[in-house]
Symmetry: none
Amino acid sequence: MATPVYSGTRTAQRGRPRDASRDDALRQAALEVMAEVGYRALTMDAVAARARAGKATIYRRWESKLDLVIDTCTQLAHRNLPEPDTGSLEGDLREFLSGFAAFLSGPIGKAAQALVGELPHEPELATAFRDTFLTTQRDVLRRILERADERDELRPEAPRGMAVELAGAALIYRLMLTGDPLDVPFVDRVVEQVLVPLVAKGPQEVSELT
Amino acid sequence: MATPVYSGTRTAQRGRPRDASRDDALRQAALEVMAEVGYRALTMDAVAARARAGKATIYRRWESKLDLVIDTCTQLAHRNLPEPDTGSLEGDLREFLSGFAAFLSGPIGKAAQALVGELPHEPELATAFRDTFLTTQRDVLRRILERADERDELRPEAPRGMAVELAGAALIYRLMLTGDPLDVPFVDRVVEQVLVPLVAKGPQEVSELT
Amino acid sequence: MATPVYSGTRTAQRGRPRDASRDDALRQAALEVMAEVGYRALTMDAVAARARAGKATIYRRWESKLDLVIDTCTQLAHRNLPEPDTGSLEGDLREFLSGFAAFLSGPIGKAAQALVGELPHEPELATAFRDTFLTTQRDVLRRILERADERDELRPEAPRGMAVELAGAALIYRLMLTGDPLDVPFVDRVVEQVLVPLVAKGPQEVSELT
Amino acid sequence: MATPVYSGTRTAQRGRPRDASRDDALRQAALEVMAEVGYRALTMDAVAARARAGKATIYRRWESKLDLVIDTCTQLAHRNLPEPDTGSLEGDLREFLSGFAAFLSGPIGKAAQALVGELPHEPELATAFRDTFLTTQRDVLRRILERADERDELRPEAPRGMAVELAGAALIYRLMLTGDPLDVPFVDRVVEQVLVPLVAKGPQEVSELT
DNA sequence: CGATAATCGAGACGGTACGTCGAGTCTTTAG
DNA sequence: CTAAAGACTCGACGTACCGTCTCGATTATCG
């Protein structure tokens, strides 16, 4: 399910139309509650009360608590992934990863973490979660590497897939596991000490070209 | 809390002593249930029923479901981290990381994942979790790098801390987020494509020594 | 069961002998607790705690809460039913019924009331209860009537059985149902307005004899 | 509390209204369970299961097991006390007491007995109980005597109050204490041997009028 | 005397019911 | 037909009590 469905194919619907502004109010309430108390302690009654809505108004739009939370994250995630194009690999990485780090550091990151524990037992959630938080970000990184490759900045044998995976891993590991801050210095170190050394041509290699 | 405490400092304890064998039976039951249905769906009734115990017997030892699960993981985690010493950096890394990967791939890994969502709202759990799953493993990796350093296998400016962090991040990211398998080929790739290139002296550097 | 049995027929018993003083301490505790909170809210833990005894010490003597309570009442009941013999029907009735009323007004009466609700579902309790609180008192009343009969104080057709039943009913109805006081004026009224008119020869009948 | 109250003074109530049919279903279930296993062994789970109701549905209406049972008895009691008017004291007594005996012999009588033990520790229950099982019946008896008095059937000095008390006592003593049957012969004996002799004018007194 | 055995207080054990609370559904009035 | 409100069933929660069992310590008899 995930996204609220508006009474299907019916063209001329009868009765009071569904109030679309309630969708966002409910998602906002869900996000706030989840950021405050976590996924487990989030209750539908709490969400309904915060949005001054009835529970039926929630269940009319989403099938379950899980469904509400998935959709909330997905919707809010889709507006926050700019794709930089600075002209250099290092610039693109730096810019994209700081943006992603900032995004993860907000309430959506907290919400995402709250969902991790459910992934193994909720295949639908797993799919939605990966689409939202992994795939999109990975695709952007891939395209950054492709553009760098076209600019001939990469070593031929560079482990591109591994680099993409590592970039995400490093950030999310910090965010969810160690609890260390996802700040600019950290992003810089990931770029300078890991990503660039792993995939970019070294100075001697560049000089060899001349 | 975490580990059940047996009447503390009192030397001569009165009344029937706790049956220590119930501790393990309950932890085993908790681990099984959690691996089957996850953390959220784990109920104390289910754990009690599986261990043929009364719920009071659980609550006498652990304050809550969370406390039980923390302790279960901690106890079971402490017996599974051998520290290899093969004489070479690559050998040590390969051996240790495959062991860690195998450990994470079992039920304890599933249990660990189930806990991640609770970390932000349960500081005590966060501490126990990091001690169990992060610190221990990180310290082993550190010592592996130190020994390699003593054998003069590392480049002087090698980002040792980052390498240690990345090793854990790469494994746990796969385990918990992407769902891709933590198999030997993956560990090999992490070692060959990431860790060794980042910290070890390259062939030319070694030859420079001669 | 009812009364604590002391290891049956064995003549030479080994081991530490049972401490007979605990019996009364436990019965006393049980009576106090029951008078305070009633039968339902009486817990074995509370009785044990009040007597500073272990629960096993109770269960070694009585099979169950019910058994303990039955025996407690029975034991305490047996020492309180004097049989008057004043030489006149009215005197005997007055004396006996005031004694019985006083007895019922104490803690034993409260305890007895607490047991009434269990009678239909506990045949053994019912038997013990009737033996203790009904039969004994009824037999005394019967003998009082017999002696009066021998003294030729009764009308030949006097409903002796009904009188006996009514005497008990009147007292216990007040005690347990209406809550009105079981005081001397009430006993007097029962004797003067009910029992004597029902069974004793009237003045004119007595005069007829002359 | 006793009777479920339906949101008091509010005129326009919001939300789904209480399902009044659940009240009776729950009372019926409570009565059945209590008649089967007694008050003490009655569990809320059993009542809920028998009525296919959630426990919350019970607790929404009644504060406790005791409250439920009180209300159950009260409700069911109010429909079973016809007031006879046969034109003669003996006829009225006979008819009323057989009706009351039959009423007490059913499940409601069993339920009433189950409550007796709680009266001393539950003032509210005591009030409700007396209203239901004592006052109503006593008032009917009083009116029967009044009508007999108006018909000049009573002796002037007849102990009217005592007669009323004895009638109830005799029946309830049998029902709850001795366990003897509350059958028609017994009622007849009570009327003929006790009540009529105590209060009605004797034949000689009647003849004196002529 | 030492060994044996049943007692004692204390409290852990398995089990059952408690009264509360949350999930997801249904039913009312109001718009 | 949708909205808010809240009652509905179901099931897990953490607690309390029952009746049993197990501990160390004590107190008797037996050999």
